[in-house]
Amino acid sequence: MKIAALSVDSEEINRAHAREMGFTFPLLSDTDAAVIRLYDVLHRGAGPKGTDIARPAEFYVNRDGVVRWVNLTENIAVRARPEQALAAIDAEK
């Protein structure tokens, strides 16, 4: 299973963030929020100085490119737990 994280952060910020946290999975840089819009997970004006950012959201996509699990939190502080994603992946096997 792979992981990819997407945000409006620049490559530079992502590079520093990945180094700081020891992340080896890709942090994808969607600076104009095109993909964030494509997935309808844009949160208008919620970023620093009222910029548009992504809302927290998680999708599990299987090997065939089909969405098999979606987690759209109703509270920014409540994120998907690893076990939730793993359960979705186990169900796919």
Binding site: L6, E11, S29, H43, R55, V67, R68
Partner: protein, 141 residues
Amino acid sequence: MKRKWNWPLWVGFVVAVGGLFSYEYFVRFPITRDFPWANLLLFGIGAALLLIGLFRAFGRPQVYRGKVFGAILAAIAFFLFGFFSYEIFYVLRQVPRSAQAPEVGERARNFSLPDQNGTQIALGDLLSPNGVVLIFYRGHW
């Protein structure tokens, strides 16, 4: 006669302030982030101590100090609790509906974006035998 120091007012105030600022710490753990019970517990302890202090100050003003500053500390603590509740129970829940987001069973929408090393990565590159978890996040600031 010199009146006694009314410690529950001060300790209660400090605990209530801690209830607000300790969120920085408790937010790191899912169990205290999903629901801020640790912060609410601190606010509760702070409120209980402040009430004890106020009862002392107003009930036995000849023995205990704190009628004026006790009321001020309690008002500030109450304001901090109101601010905390507003942020946690209202602001954090103002999340867009995302009604058009991909649904289970739908084909994932294709994209190609640069990663932290400048390499372009498309959805297809991420489809391992066990698939991929796409995590949209607010960003790092």
